[in-house]
Symmetry: C2
Subunit: 357 residues, 2 copies
């Protein structure tokens, strides 16, 4: 079945009507019989305008359908109130949720939000430069290599804040940034699985922002640390090439073949879903034969069967905090809250349990 859709592309402009230019404050001024400066005063709510004058101007604004030109305003006043988000992805849950937090915060502060999706093909420097030319600040979602390298390339004179993967101990990101402690979260999740009685825990990695080895991301580090603390030699991590369920399925097929695999930590819930599916196909029950824990707590995680145990992340909080950090650079009198955001949270559902072995 392939049903074609429709498009309605009517030119919704009357036949005789000219696409006449938008009214400026001077047009309004003329219509109201005042100077353009008075119109400006009315627009900005300046107190020293007589009641009658104000009314006359407001009437003129109404009849002419005047809207203040934001471009001219920005140029003349030097106030931009806009930020652009640089991200390599907008649909994956972690990114989308961060973006949402960013948007909420920006909107609440009266900022407009631009979004620029980074692709490996385009010239990063050019992209950044044109995004920065807008005048406002830059926000970078640096969960992956593309985002991280974009962050590194932002010129020093451009206001910028980022949300990133937890940086290696003692190392600071190139710009003001916020992050969640997913290293510790991964450690705790792994420790929990060991405590359940599993001999070891396998890891299916997400791509990471740092290095090329898939074992280097903070989640992988936390997993490794938990194993080492328990005196277990970490097995070779899987994955690291993709974020989606298909990637998880591919890795899951391999893992399912190994009877020694009884516990799997996944870098995100999509991967976990794929792993779950592969285990199901291989006839291995979850959590009976294998425990699986995801990461991020995507909206559907609790509704698949078996319901996915996972680590909840406060992506929206991350977005909000990162925006506050940027705002602190943009407005000299704004003090970004120093609070650390709400952290991570291990949520146990059905996909993890005591091993049968």
């Amino acid at each position: 079945m392939d049903v074609t859709g429709h498009t309605s592309s009517g030119n919704h402009r009357g036949p005789g009507q000219e696409p006449r230019k938008a009214a400026s404050i001077r047009d309004v001024a003329e219509a109201a019989g005042v100077s353009y400066q008075t119109v400006s005063r009315v627009l900005n709510g300046h107190p020293n305008v007589r009641e009658v004058t104000r009314n006359r101007v407001e009437a003129a604004i109404e009849t002419l359908g005047f809207r203040r030109n934001a471009t001219a305003f920005a140029l003349a006043s030097g106030v931009t109130r806009s930020v652009t988000v640089l991200t390599s992805n907008t649909t994956l849950y972690g990114y989308a949720a961060t973006l949402q937090g960013l948007e909420e915060a920006a909107s609440a502060a009266g900022y407009s939000l631009g979004v620029k999706v980074l692709t490996p093909e385009d010239d990063l420097d050019r992209t950044i430069s044109s995004a920065a030319a807008g005048g406002g600040g830059l926000m970078v979602i640096g969960f992956d290599r593309l985002g991280a390298s974009a962050l590194r390339r932002v010129p020093a004179d451009v206001p910028c804040a980022a949300v990133v993967e937890a940086p290696p101990h003692g190392r600071r990101p190139p710009r003001p940034a916020v992050w969640a402690d997913d290293r510790e979260a991964a450690r705790a999740a792994t420790a929990y699985l060991l405590q359940l009685g599993h001999q070891t825990v396998h890891y299916v990695a997400i791509p990471t922002s740092v290095g090329t080895r898939r074992s280097e991301g903070p989640r992988a580090q936390g997993w490794r640390k938990a194993l080492e603390e328990a005196g277990i030699t970490p097995p070779e991590p899987h994955g690291g090439k993709g974020w989606d369920a298909q990637a998880g399925y591919d890795e899951g097929e391999q893992l399912a073949r190994d009877p020694g695999v009884t516990a799997i930590l996944c870098g995100n819930d999509e991967l976990a879903l794929g792993v779950l599916r592969a285990l199901h196909h291989a006839g291995r029950s979850v959590p009976g034969d294998v425990s699986v824990i995801g990461f991020d707590d995507a909206p559907h995680a609790g509704f698949v069967t078996p319901a996915l145990s996972t680590v909840r992340m406060d992506f929206q909080g991350l977005g909000r905090d990162a925006f506050a950090l940027l705002r602190g650079q943009l407005e000299s009198d704004y003090q970004p809250p120093a609070r650390t955001f709400a952290g991570t949270d291990l949520v146990i559902r059905e996909s993890s349990g005591v091993t049968d072995v």
Copy 2:
């Protein structure tokens, strides 16, 4: 477990360095020993500039770290090349995918993209007005009531295009718009279920952009039509209050209690996931006892168990086409492609099957 995160908010400005203003073309001109106009010519690749002069200017641009002020450019040239998307949601699959298509198209055409999330609380007219003040066009995602009413309120002189629910037969949306024929898609999906041997098909609705009755959306209409064509009186539709899995679960619990329910069409995949979960809890097997079909083909639909049969929608194509429609209004010499986009596609996986009855 509650691990707090960190924020690194260092002021990455050296102690002695002034936050000195960005260089303008006149600064560059002075540094290169030419007039500002010559700098402008170099920036715009004007041919009539001597090789040596060009090099000198480019060197000055490099040393001063000059970036052309996009605001001033927009004001002076009258070219904006930016569009703002008005949407009530950014994370739900259909919205996110549409947004992605929009962004791709905008980016490819050299436009920057703004996003403004609509909430029931904020003043629509004010929001629209401030979004339109940017100068560029407006794109509205009108899948729901909020989006649809925003679309209706966009002033006639503001360039605008939308992606909407399929409008009622013969009716046109208030602005140039694109849509998928989900009415027909729902009809086909329902007909397929009937053909499998089900006596009737129940419907769990998504909220819709039109009217208040949950039966009025195009998907509901298609479902109803298929039943009527088969001489079956449509049962009362369920849902219509939410988009997410929890809403689906709530409706699924009710449906699970009714042994007469053997086939369920859901307004989206999230709802279907919730329904699946509720059926599972009630001990009714899918597709053995009940067939379930979703809508949208979200990324995880194929990886849940049982894999979800669903209707694939080309949201990205919708986004691209809507952008082309807007671009046609913004650039007088740009002719939007008249092609109808790729349509919907019923994808059968595991959650639908022949009834046991």
